[in-house]
Symmetry: C2
Subunit: 477 residues, 2 copies
């Protein structure tokens, strides 16, 4: 598959990275002589953060081309993403050029923050192929994309667009009614406008406003959003009570939103001076890496809770999860993933804890394959690890692709003995994990003999693996 | 220290929990006959989430009293927190009653979202003792508190209030100018108002708006806030460029904020129906626990990055960190903490990975005590773990207090051999961790002999510990 990305700024570069890392060939076109450097830098940022966000390996990267030739980009493209500046005439001119070249039926998606699909479609040769797909920076990490059509777009065309966006790991929010600025930017604009007043009136600095957000409601919004948060605030009496309690405040003259602050040079200078004082010691690239590491850490946290964006990521993992397969003539591959940027410790390599995290998930996957995973837990049984040996053989680092291979050394009575090997992409041994587990009754919280018939699949694997060569170093026996 | 909490709703209960878990005695007063149950439930929620947010144990809990007697609450109080409904006359009446009883100079802090300190102080006997300390729900988890005074409050009084709030783990944001609704609620109100329009106009449901937030900009705001995020969006040309690019949109008629939506029964019903469809299958208590687990997971993620609210939490940990001490006549206590709620796996106990997380941090702390921690890394040297044995002896569960004790079994040449024991509050062995480490040159990434003089403190510990009784089970050596 090939994506054409028209406009190679922060947003276009983010789209390019997302398509590329999901296996698409990408042709970016931009007249800026610096476009190549800029897009390459965004793609580099994406490479260090996106793959490690997932617990599964991504497809092989596609081929990246960056040029100033819009026709070459559009030729044979399966998706065209327009991210040029917010000028309607410019956007329409791009569609005109592109639709001379591309196949009819090829989706042209605009990253516009403000324009409606109807206004973008006006005068186009194939208006029904043009939609809005409005992403959020960093495009390669944030799942949200607002997908908006007009009545000129068929349901089929919108469904197809949705599937493509889902295919590159995004979570499209289909918006039924066209309005200027869609949904999220209307909320953002409301906050931005109010924040400008707070700075202009000298109530708070940019840094204080950021603190007020990230130490307070930002933490609520990252996982539940607005309404679910307020539902809780309403307490046992629910949403109606909340509105009754807080509704009247809307009538107070709290906000300055009936006015628009004048963005004169004084205000611009005030904001940019305060922002320099707050973050000026870091370059934009450094800030981007900090932001990406933070977002990865937050998202990985939400994944453990299977909630919000974390739930979305889990569903991506499930989609691309390795399928363990018969025949059992070799250790099973139980992990194939990339080391995320938030696993590095002060010694400059992956912290010892995360090796066990990989092995622990490998054990989970092995048990699931043997029909002794979460379903077995809901029947009231499971395996508890009682002894573990970890040997660290080579350093692993951020961005590295690693694989785990699991061999069942023994399963007898209630005893299960597993051995994992973690390997680098080049096949070098990075670590081994040897685990001794006991079968347990989860209700009584004690070890018990399993029902032989129920654990037959596990016996089959153990039998098959008993014929394999034993690992070099075994501690438990 | 004793805190009086006047008003035992969601906010008052949250304050009570925060003071209590930070070692204060708390007297909550509220005329609601249900107050006791409600406050107790909020405190129970706090007990399961706050202690595990920290990597260090909190002080012993204070004593909780819940009654309807405001005078008994205010008597001998060191801090009075008022969280009664948002009616000015009611709040002033509370201050009148309280100031008849409490010592002059005792801070009376209002949780008000909207009123200014000046308006609260009017008519009070000791106006200079009344301030605004506006927290965010859940009060026991979110660090932000807006601290606002008027010109009747002395600098000394404000500084004292700030120190008290810091002492219960909060991050006070001192707001220099009084305005209605302070800072954060002005931003929140702007979004709330706009969101109401989106629902009323049928553009989006409550669930879609929540998705738009938590899959998109909510993830940015949880860590950087508004301005730092936009600084990055401006790219290499910085904040001025961003404003130039996006400023003009303020003139577009995107938002509906010049109008106020009428909260008639139709709109209230629409919102509460949509909210029921979105979250109605869960009780408020269940939603609260989900929210708290999510926030703990996000905050623990941000702690790994030492950023935003995560940086604040790290500073709290540092403040209450165990001080390892001579004489070395016993294993060193290297961890004293509570198991957080996000560590539980599908078997209903602490996942095996987190035992290693505790031991890994115990090793870090031991090395720091021996002057071989992060400072040594910045000199270019460190210790790499090469072999680990973990024995799981008893199950550990959410909310449990645990301690780790570390013994140095050997330090010779480049070899370091450590043994950790994890114990329950009752002294039961939960797990052991045995770690074999090698001294390494971080520049050359290889093991080397250390400079004997530099690692003298480590030799001293090893010598002292060599006289201690050896642990029962040793694998390496």
């Amino acid at each position: 598959m090939k994506a054409a990305v028209v406009g190679g700024g922060v947003i276009g570069g983010g789209w390019a990275a997302r398509f590329l890392l999901n296996g698409w060939d990408v042709h970016v076109c931009d007249p800026d002589p610096e476009a190549k450097r800029k897009v390459t830098e965004v793609v580099a940022n994406a490479r260090r953060s996106l793959p490690g966000l997932l617990d599964e390996a991504m497809p092989d990267e596609g081929k990246l081309t960056i040029s100033n030739e819009i026709s070459a980009a559009a030729l044979d493209a399966d998706w065209i993403q327009e991210s040029v500046p917010e000028r309607l005439a410019l956007k329409r001119a791009v569609y005109g050029e592109v639709q001379k070249i591309c196949r009819p039926g090829t989706t042209i998606a605009s990253s516009t923050s403000g324009f409606t699909p109807s206004s973008l479609q006006e005068g186009a040769a194939q208006p029904g192929d043009i939609v809005v797909a409005h992403p959020f920076n960093p495009v390669y990490l944030l799942p949200l994309v607002e997908l908006v059509g007009s009545d000129r777009n068929s349901e089929t065309a919108m469904d197809k667009a949705q599937r493509t966006l889902e295919g590159i790991g995004m979570k499209p929010l289909r918006i039924g009614k066209e309005i200027d600025a869609h949904i999220a930017d209307r909320l953002l604009e409301a906050v931005w406008r109010e924040a400008l007043w707070l700075v202009k009136d000298g109530i708070a600095t940019t840094s204080e406003i950021d603190e007020a957000i990230r130490l307070g409601f930002g933490l609520r919004w990252a996982q539940m959003g607005l309404f679910e948060t307020y539902r809780i605030a309403g307490g046992e009496q629910g949403m109606e009570h909340f509105i009754a309690q807080f509704g009247p405040a809307l009538k107070f003259p709290w906000t300055r939103l009936t006015d628009v602050p004048d963005l004169d040079s004084d205000l611009v200078k005030k904001i940019s001076d305060q922002s320099d004082a707050q973050s000026g010691s870091l370059t934009i690239r450094e800030l981007e890496r900090i932001r990406d590491n933070n977002i990865v850490a937050i998202l990985r946290g939400l994944k453990t809770q299977n909630y919000g964006a974390g739930r979305h990521l889990r569903s991506l993992d499930e989609k691309s999860a390795i399928k363990l397969q018969y025949p059992l003539n070799a250790p099973l591959m139980t992990a194939d993933r990339v080391i995320p940027p938030d696993w590095t410790d002060y010694n400059g390599h992956v912290n010892e804890v995360y090796y066990l995290e990989i092995f622990s998930k490998a054990t989970d996957r092995f048990l699931e394959f043997a029909k002794c995973g979460p379903d077995y837990a809901s029947e009231g049984y499971g395996f508890f690890t009682v002894d573990t040996r970890l040997r660290y053989l080579s350093e692993a680092v951020e961005g590295q692709r690693v694989r785990a291979f699991t061999q069942c050394l023994m399963f007898k009575g209630k005893k299960l003995h597993l051995h994992h090997t973690l390997k680098s992409d080049g096949g070098r041994d990075l670590a081994t994990g040897e685990h001794f587990l006991l079968h347990a009754d989860l209700t009584q919280r004690k070890t018990v003999e399993p029902n032989a018939k129920r654990v037959k699949p596990l016996h089959e694997i153990a039998n098959a693996h008993s014929g394999l060569e034993k690992p070099e170093s075994i501690s438990f026996g």
